[in-house]
């Protein structure tokens, strides 16, 4: 720790990266566990505990951490600690906004968006590799659900055809285990993949701040703290997102749950294997939709799905606006101001969520449609501004049913 250039900034960035890691775990619990909770293969608390444990194991499973952030999307030469801080806060705020609205949205895209915004504020449009942004973020967000819907609907159709004359009780009993197994795999993959992203950011910050050498490997405390932050986030359970994924899109039974989770695990692992990463969130959502498409007579709430697609497309600009604003704030008033802003925004969003709480007790309640919901979400997204979000939301337009 000889010549750390900006020790305070470095500490702030590391803590913020851990906070992002926490929101990442907490936002993405649903990707792995929403279907198991909805089909009652696992009790809600069991599910988040299992997922958190596997996230933690996953974080230690592979240590091929690269100190890159938004590689191929922004010019790596313009990334400073200030940019990283702005990007992280943008990502966290967008994660919290989508959590309050109960929309599963990609944490990695939120982070990329935040960084892109901060880079724009720091060095203008030249710092962003626009074709990389389209090819690596925008297009995969559109393709991932399509692929997942295809795989999951075919799987569901085959499963239902084969087991249509098996007593429902036996189906539920046996498919439950398959569902838990496949969901566990998704959790494990998530732990490895996403905890490494945070480790990479912290390592990058440590190198940039001069605390460790250029070719240093990840310090052990970074691995442990990232694994813990993510597991804690997962255990907290983003119940609002779990509810939308498990109840909002399709009414699921265990056979669909197995087909959906198997599809999610397969598409995620294969896409990374073939070097074309698709977001876990987008794949998981597509798989749930596909399990509705593949079952005869099942009703798919495309209006709910449509809102998610809109949210995915605005993730980068929305998180980017916050990232850019935070970078500006940092330059004007210093990193302390950014942290104060983050705490105030997070507090306001948390307070908003308390108006219609969703937790392990009501996560599986029947889903009520509310026609006004779409317009509220659209509005919040379009006028995305954390200060607006602290205002009282229009009461009846909350998408989460309260019973």
């Amino acid at each position: 720790m000889g010549n750390v250039s900006e020790p305070v900034l470095l500490v702030i960035v590391v803590v913020t990266a851990l906070a992002f890691d926490f929101t990442n775990g907490f936002h993405d619990t649903g990707n792995a566990m929403a279907t198991s909770i909805a089909t009652r293969a696992l009790k809600p608390r069991q599910a988040v505990l299992l997922s958190a444990t596997l996230n933690m194991v996953g974080a230690f499973l592979s240590l091929t951490v690269a100190a890159t952030i938004a590689k191929g999307i922004v010019d790596s030469g313009v990334i400073t600690l200030h940019v990283v801080l702005g990007g992280l806060v943008g990502g966290i705020v967008w994660n919290l906004v989508t959590w309050v609205l109960g929309i599963p949205s990609s944490s990695s895209h939120a982070l990329v968006g935040g960084v892109v915004g901060a880079v724009l504020a720091a060095s203008g449009t030249d710092g962003v590799l626009w074709s990389g942004l389209v090819a690596k973020v925008l297009v995969p967000a559109l393709l991932a659900p399509v692929v997942a819907i295809a795989v999951s609907s075919l799987g569901t159709r085959l499963v239902f055809r084969v087991t249509k004359d098996v007593p429902q009780r036996d189906n539920d009993r046996m498919f439950r285990w398959g569902q838990i197994g496949s969901a566990s795999l998704v959790s494990l993959a998530h732990g490895t993949n996403d905890a490494q992203k945070s480790m990479g950011i912290i390592l990058l910050a440590l190198i940039a701040g001069g605390a460790v050498g250029q070719d240093s490997s990840v310090p052990f405390w970074v691995i442990v703290s990232c694994a813990l932050a993510m597991a804690l986030g997962t255990y907290t359970g983003g119940w609002r997102v779990i509810r939308t994924l498990g109840k909002g899109l399709v009414e699921l039974e265990t056979r669909q749950g197995l087909a959906a989770e198997a599809s999610t695990a397969t598409v995620i692992l294969l896409s990374s294997h073939f070097g074309y990463s698709l977001s876990t969130t987008h794949v998981a959502t597509g798989s749930v939709l596909g399990s509705g498409v593949g079952k005869k007579g099942a009703r798919v709430r495309w209006s709910v799905a449509g809102r998610m697609f809109v949210a995915w497309l605005v993730t980068v600009p929305a998180a980017g606006s916050v990232g850019a604003a935070c970078y500006g704030l940092d330059r004007l008033a210093g990193p302390y101001a950014v942290i104060v802003f983050l705490i105030v925004a997070a507090g306001a969003l948390f307070a908003w969520s308390r108006l219609k709480p969703v937790n392990h007790a009501n996560v599986n309640d029947a889903w009520d449609e509310d026609d006004g919901a779409a317009s509220t979400i659209g509005e919040s997204i379009v006028d995305h501004d954390p200060s607006l979000l602290s205002g009282a939301p229009k009461d009846r337009n909350e998408p989460i049913a309260q019973r």
Binding site: G58, L61, S62, L63, T64, S131, V134, A135, V139, L143, V147, A150, V151, S152, L154, G155, T156, L158, V159, V162, T163, D165, V166, P167, D170, N171, M174, F175, G178, G181, L185, L188, A189, T192, N193, Q196, R255, L258, A259, A262, S263, A265, T266, V267, I268, L269, L270, S271, S272, H273, F274, G275, Y276, L278
Partner: protein, 78 residues
């Protein structure tokens, strides 16, 4: 569009995902059917040996696939 979509990788993902991601659940379903489907038990309530063997074979493939997946995750190849 070729500059924005990696068609080669995407094609492989779609084909292999369809085979594996839909095939494994179907295999699981075959196992469930052979254990609990119509005719799985005789009058004494016992399962016939071939059906149990078929089910075990299917489950073995599924378990093998999960083990492979864990190895892929551990290698960081994802």
């Amino acid at each position: 569009m070729t500059q924005f979509i990696e068609w080669g990788a995407l094609g492989k993902i779609v084909v292999v995902s369809l085979a594996v991601g839909a095939g494994l659940p179907a295999l699981f379903a075959v196992a469930v059917r052979s254990l609990a489907g119509p005719g799985s038990r005789d009058d004494a309530g016992l399962r016939s040996r071939p059906r149990v063997a078929l089910a075990l074979a299917c489950f073995a493939v599924v378990v093998g696939a999960i083990a492979t997946a864990i190895v892929i995750i551990g290698k960081g190849g994802h």
